[in-house]
């Protein structure tokens, strides 16, 4: 294998797994992790002995807030893995960073099959301490260090308040209405009704959305994702051996990370975008496929506004056009021109920091999405972040 400008072209997704998901779950975070990983390895037709690399986001943070209770080392022990390579990083870059690192590990020849997982236990943590996980840690007597000093002293204790600035900036520039923003939440809840593993499955109307309590203007409760307990796992394999596994390989057509500085207290631009256009430009420079070729989009929705910004950054909509594109929900529904967040996304299926979006993309491409299956789905796009961003286009090989 030689050096390549497109390492993702040497890698495929061959298996996925997800644990039970709940608010909270009656299982330990490590048990949830094992459930997801065992399922993903079996899904690929592999055994734990075949796994020679492990990557996770962000690695163990044993602070009790449930953000990342399980790291790579204890997962290796619990599964009896003997990896030759491991990576866990909250930076380098974003939730998609662990996928990119795994791609590079395989493309370089270091690994054949890399297991990636993401475990959260934020519902359990908040059942113990209601404000667990707020920025700054919630101890108002403690000093705040690092990038959070540029937000926490002003009462910006949640990323909701920070992304509300982007929602307002987008509104100021393009005239976003409440009903347009609410279409994202309504769509997510409709999709979640068809997903047995989603946490919020009862449909809502736009009137329900508008009646939701305000969190941080213009973001209401339904604009914010749902913290959960659960784990998701993905197996990446070297492309030339992926065809011998249990199911058709899902080939990375293009993968790109963004390198914008949001997340250290710095802001760029006019708050009508997240400074992530470089992701879309890189994606479409790497493939002959076009945005119109996508059978679906699984776009990060930590907050509803992320989806509008991703639609534009990935050139699925023109600048300022995403709001009218999603309005009313028809074009983003299962029968629409671009089915969006078909699991319910993080708003309704649960906050897996993008890994739920990857999982859903794979289910759709393998035809295993049940009642929410998109007919003849062969290629789709996935984005992650938030703070630190990335995206990929995935295509099923038959």
């Amino acid at each position: 294998m030689s050096a390549t400008e497109h390492p993702e072209r040497l890698v495929s997704i061959t298996g996925v797994g997800q644990s039970g998901v709940g608010r909270p779950m009656p299982l330990s975070p490590l048990k949830l992790t094992v459930d997801a990983c065992v399922a993903a390895i079996a899904d690929a037709g592999l055994t734990p002995a075949d796994i020679d690399g492990l990557a996770t986001y962000p690695g163990a943070h044993n602070t009790g807030d449930g953000y990342s209770p399980i790291g790579a080392v204890e997962t290796v022990a619990a599964l009896g893995l003997q990896p030759k390579w491991m990576a866990a990083s909250i930076e380098g870059h974003s939730h998609m960073g662990s996928v990119a690192m795994a791609v590079h590990a395989i493309a370089s020849g270091a690994c054949r099959h890399v297991l990636i997982f993401r475990t959260v236990a934020q519902a359990s943590a908040r059942a113990r301490v209601h404000h667990a996980g707020v920025l700054g840690g919630g101890d108002t007597e403690a000093r705040v260090w690092g990038w959070q000093q540029w937000s926490v002293p002003f009462g910006a204790l949640s990323t909701a308040t920070l992304f509300a600035l982007y929602a307002q900036g987008y509104r100021d520039k393009y005239g976003l209405t409440d009903e347009q923003l609410g279409a994202i939440a309504v769509n997510g809840r409709t999709m979640a009704g068809l997903n047995p593993n989603a946490v919020y499955r009862k449909p809502i109307t736009i009137e329900d959305y508008l009646a939701g309590r305000m969190i941080s203007t213009p973001l209401r409760i339904f604009d914010c994702d749902a913290f959960v307990d659960g784990s998701t796992a993905i197996v990446l394999s070297r492309r030339d051996i992926a065809a011998d596994l249990r199911q058709p390989p899902l080939d990375f057509e293009a993968l790109a990370l963004g390198m914008n500085p949001i997340g250290m207290g710095a802001y760029v631009g006019d708050f009508s975008h997240m400074g992530i256009n470089d992701v879309g430009e890189a994606i479409w420079s790497k493939t002959d496929l076009k945005p119109k070729d996508m059978d679906f989009a699984q776009l990060y929705d930590g907050f509803s506004i992320h989806v509008l910004m991703w639609l534009e950054a990935l050139q699925l909509c023109g600048p300022g056009e995403a709001a009218s594109f999603v309005e009313g929900g028809k074009r983003i529904g299962l029968d629409g021109e671009l089915p969006l967040n078909t699991s319910g996304g993080q708003l309704s299926a649960g906050r897996f920091h993008g890994f739920g979006h990857i999982y859903e993309a794979c289910l759709q491409l393998w035809g295993r999405a049940g009642e929410r299956q998109i007919k003849d789905a062969e290629v789709g796009i996935v984005s992650n972040g938030g703070f630190g961003v990335g995206a990929f286009v995935l295509r099923r090989r038959d």
């Binding site: 209601h130 404000h131 707020v134 700054g136 919630g138 101890d139 108002t140 403690a142 000093r143 705040v144 260090w145 990038w147 000093q149 540029w150 937000s151 926490v152 002293p153 002003f154 009462g155 910006a156 204790l157 949640s158 909701a160 308040t161 509300a164 600035l165 982007y166 929602a167 307002q168 900036g169 100021d172 309590r213 305000m214 969190i215 941080s216 203007t217 213009p218 973001l219 250290m264 207290g265 710095a266 802001y267 760029v268 631009g269 006019d270 708050f271």
Partner: protein, 140 residues
Amino acid sequence: MAEEANTLRQLPGLDQDNTPFWTGGARGELMILRCTHCARYIHPPLPHCGRCQTLNPVPVAVSGRGRVKSFTINHQAWVPGMATPFVIAAIELDEQDELYVLSNVTGCAVEDVYSGMPVTVRFEQHGDIFVPLFAPDAGE
């Protein structure tokens, strides 16, 4: 002038890079780092200008005037006892395009804040730390 302290405000730890910003209010000055070579302002403060590769940007007092670039009215009490609603805003300082300082807009009703609103700095004292806040600019 220093305002009455909001005791729930979680304060920053001070280091060599951030001390001018968090303590300049003792003199009534909003201190922002500026590159000695290309004259670009840098916030949050960094000990090196990444654009022109010059070491040792220096803190300078800026006018303290700017405009609300974007804002949000926060209604959620994220920790017990947090008083709501209040406004969090990205203030674009007059000195430079896209030179943003995140802060609160105080001194007016939350519903009176708007994007483009001219504001000026004031400080809230907590011991050695003077938190820069912004209020409607009475001069406009």
